[in-house]
């Protein structure tokens, strides 16, 4: 058995569960629509299929938000999803607002640029959620959330996230289950911030390795040494564990200086679904 087999999910049950999650957690807020940033990548594609089943194609809005450096294939793939699912869509280019912002600086590195683009997309999605009366459905998977490979209050921002407890490998399992367009499954994962960018090149390891390492460290409570003994370099396992620790802040709301006896999120603790 390969180590990745441990991440096998029962797609029938998991998809039913996630469809119910989106349906119930949206409807109980009194809204019935979903707004999703469609990148043409595997994560937002799977979320679009889930949302369509949950709320009906007429209640799902896929927003494509290309920047001038986004690849043409990304748009084509996102449009294939729109065509296959029949959901509503809108192409909203963010080149003008992004460049207007970038022009305020003589120089701006690619990390800052990437974060600004992610946050402009967040603004666009939340504005459209208000325009259409829907909730922004998130598309960050568990691998990204644990690695902190995303922009805080950018692509990590949403009202609800059906795939945040699924590793990248498990997203692919669901993608095959939903029979999403083949080109989306076959291409290399990319944040598409510049032409030819590859997540795996940028991270320095493969998603398969990351998934297996993260799953053993955090889901199965293996120690770093025990994971190394599965056949990974100490440097890789340690590096990934360190990334997870360093990025814990991204998985939480901001910390608050405690003064009173009841501080929001510390000892003022209410569920989101309060009264829902």
């Amino acid at each position: 058995m390969s180590l990745l087999d441990k991440l096998r999910i029962d797609c029938d049950i998991v998809s039913t569960y996630l469809i119910e999650f989106v349906r119930q957690e949206v409807l109980k807020t009194g809204l019935k629509r979903a707004v999703i940033g469609l990148s043409g990548g595997i994560d937002s594609t799977v979320v679009a299929y889930i949302a369509k089943e949950a709320l009906g194609k007429e209640n799902v809005y896929g927003i494509l938000m290309p920047y001038k450096l986004s690849s043409k294939e990304s748009i084509e793939d996102a449009l294939k999803v729109v065509e296959d699912t029949g959901i509503n869509h809108k192409i909203f280019e963010i080149t003008d607002p992004a460049d207007a912002y970038f022009d305020k600086f003589d120089e701006i590195d690619s990390l800052r640029k990437g974060n600004v683009l992610a946050r402009l997309r967040m603004i666009t999605l939340f504005d459209h959620s208000s325009l259409y009366g829907g909730l922004v459905v998130g598309t960050s998977n568990k691998t990204e959330l644990l690695l902190g490979y995303g922009t805080w209050y950018g692509d990590m921002a949403s009202s609800l996230n059906p795939i945040g407890d699924l590793y990248k490998n498990q997203i692919y399992q669901l993608a095959r289950y939903f029979n999403v367009p083949r080109s989306i499954i076959e291409k290399k994962p990319s944040a598409d911030l510049w032409v030819g960018q590859s997540d795996e090149d940028e991270l320095g390891f493969s998603y398969d390795d990351a998934d297996v390492i993260l799953y053993h460290l955090y889901d199965l409570h293996y120690t770093i040494e025990e994971v190394v003994n599965l056949g990974f370099s100490h440097q890789l396992v340690k590096g990934i564990a360190e990334r997870v620790r360093r990025n814990q802040f991204k998985r939480l709301p901001p910390i608050i200086a405690k003064i009173s006896k009841r501080t929001v999120n510390v000892d003022f603790r209410y569920p989101r679904d309060w009264g829902l």
Partner: protein, 259 residues
Amino acid sequence: MRVAIAQIDTILGDIKKNLSKIEHYTDKAIEEKCDLIVFPELALTGYGLKDLVYSVSVDVKDDLFDPLKDKSGFIDISFGFAQKENGYFYNSAVYLAEGNILAIHKKSHLQIHEEEKYFTAGDSTETFKTKFGNTTMLICEDAFHISSHYEAFKNETDFMIVLSASPFWSDSDNKKWEMWENILKASAQLNGYFVIFANRVGFEDGVGFFGKSFIVNPFGNIVGEASIFKEEMLIVDLDLRETERAKINMPIKKNEALK
């Protein structure tokens, strides 16, 4: 004997709406000529209450119970609620029969993440007589402790009721409900009693409850099971003589000197 399990979703912190749902299913079960209806853990309040515990817990003397007490003249009713007593809070289950509160069980084994901060643990597993036999109520995690099953066995239980709010999880090896089925089938078979497992459905802050409520007979067989993830009422006819037949088949207690 005809048993109904109301596998319901609840609204977090809205006692009025949850109570009216409990009444609705109770009326339905009376129409269906059921003798007992069982609801999930914290059916009156919802499960993941956090700080809502302080405002939604009720004293057993509260007149909130009156309409259900009245209905218990026609059907026995068991449901979970957040109980307030002498300034402390309990995750409790009540059993109503013939217009009265027949028994209260305070959950003894609290779940660490959600419950221990708020609730006080009960300290016993009580068995009480109903018109169907000796009955023991457990609440969710109580049933993960072998001591609870041992107490039920010692007390000559005929009916074990497990009120539950069990969240869904699954991985490549296991699904959550298999754990419940394994534990409760073994308990029924070893101890020769019926087990009624009433689990809820719905989502709370992303945590989904899987439903799949079921009844095990004293031979350890599942004799009725509700759907996964769906609110519904399961009705099963039980032959009460089965406890006796199971004990002839496997006379376990006869050969054991209990302390």
